[in-house]
Amino acid sequence: MQINRVLGYFYTKVFIAIIPGRTYSNIAVIHVKGSSILKHYTRKFEGIEFNTAMQLFVNEAAQFSPLAFTALLSDASDQGAIATCSKQQASQFMDVMLTESICLEERWMMYLSRDTLYQLQERYRTVGLDFVFSPFALIKQFYSKPIAEELALFILNEESSIALAVFDHNEFHFADYTLMDQRFSVSEKGVNVENDAPLRYESIEKMLDTYYNDVRIKSSFIEKIYLADAHLSSSSLASLLEEGLFTNLERNRVDVAFETARLAAREVGYAV
């Protein structure tokens, strides 16, 4: 296999990230050589199922190099993160026998239902998956610097879901994940997507209630929120959070598909 490693240096690596959504999916492709991104493009696909068009797009992108890796950002409801790596302590929050977990820094773990993981792999069998990431991994990568330096709430606000995590100077406290429902309003002009910012705010508030009130969780008062925003209609969410939670908020636009592809590249060892 040494020959593969040597030959690998001469190839451009392709990282494809699939981000499934409620009404559409994003697929990002990055071409990496050494530690630089040579090319980057994202395409939006209508529909919630992994359809033929997406499959063709992924296969076409993968044909560029024999070193093509496909990553998926998990949108499963039965995933999360807890502040322990001990299976015994983890059993308070989930069924460890039915869960796939990753221990990080020997202090906290991300988990995903094993059945869901198999289902995801089966759903994308036609293209094959190399990585399945949790949204918390994306938060950790995107906000690695403030996570190490502050006590803050970090939110990844996606079209289909909200993932949030609390870190205090790199120490993990709490994480939660919730899927969002799409609401439509019918008028003379047609079908419009309703502004779901209040709904999202409520969800975040509910998750924070758990953080502050669950006796199993170590909590501190949050004064700072980092909002990684991938949802178009969420500028009002930022105002709601600032006003409702009396916090400082820093909002950052994030291309989740691109960041997931970067995460995949880092996973293979490329500092992009």
């Binding site: 070193l67 995903l112 991994a137």
Partner: protein, 171 residues
């Protein structure tokens, strides 16, 4: 730090045909390298042998030179010896010829011949006999001859003749 719930699938950079071709050429390359190594080894062995032979050749050449010198010396010696033998033969012949000149009236008791002179001791019946029959030929052969006579009781003469050859001064 691993963040993925699954490990990436192994990637194949080379198709089975390319892999087979690569293995084939690798084996051929390896064989050629081995052959090249073998030739290099043989070459080095031959080089060592050549150097040894050159050394031996040099030693033999030196011995040959010594032998040639010995042969030259021996040849010189042989030539020198041959000259001496020839000269001795000539000298012997000359002595014989000279002694044949000595008449019966003269009895030589001592003859001493060197490269420079001839000393004769003897007895003659009279001075005339010596002067006529021996001194004349001596004068022809030597540059200078001096004779001293002593009268014996029986009326014979004892003589001591000393003949000298002047060395020729070569130009």
């Amino acid at each position: 730090m691993p963040y993925s719930f699954i490990a990436p699938r192994p990637k194949t950079l080379l198709s089975s045909e390319v892999r087979l071709t690569l293995i084939f050429f690798s084996v051929i390359g390896m064989m050629l390298l081995l052959l090249y190594g073998f030739f290099l080894y043989q070459n080095s062995e031959l080089q060592i042998e050549k150097e040894t032979l050159q050394l031996q050749h040099e030693e033999m050449r030196e011995q040959n030179e010594i032998l040639q010198d010995d042969i030259d010396f021996i040849e010189d010696q042989a030539s020198f010896t041959e000259n001496i033998v020839t000269e001795n033969i000539i000298l012997k012949e000359q002595i014989k010829n000279f002694l044949d000149l000595v008449p019966d009236e003269i009895i030589l008791s001592k003859v001493s011949l060197t490269s420079k002179d001839l000393l004769l001791n003897g007895v003659s019946i009279d001075q005339n006999s010596f002067q006529d029959k021996l001194e004349v030929p001596l004068s022809s052969m030597f540059h200078k001859t001096t004779v001293k006579y002593t009268q014996l009781l029986d009326e014979r003469l004892e003589f001591i003749s000393h003949s000298i050859i002047h060395k020729e001064i070569k130009p």
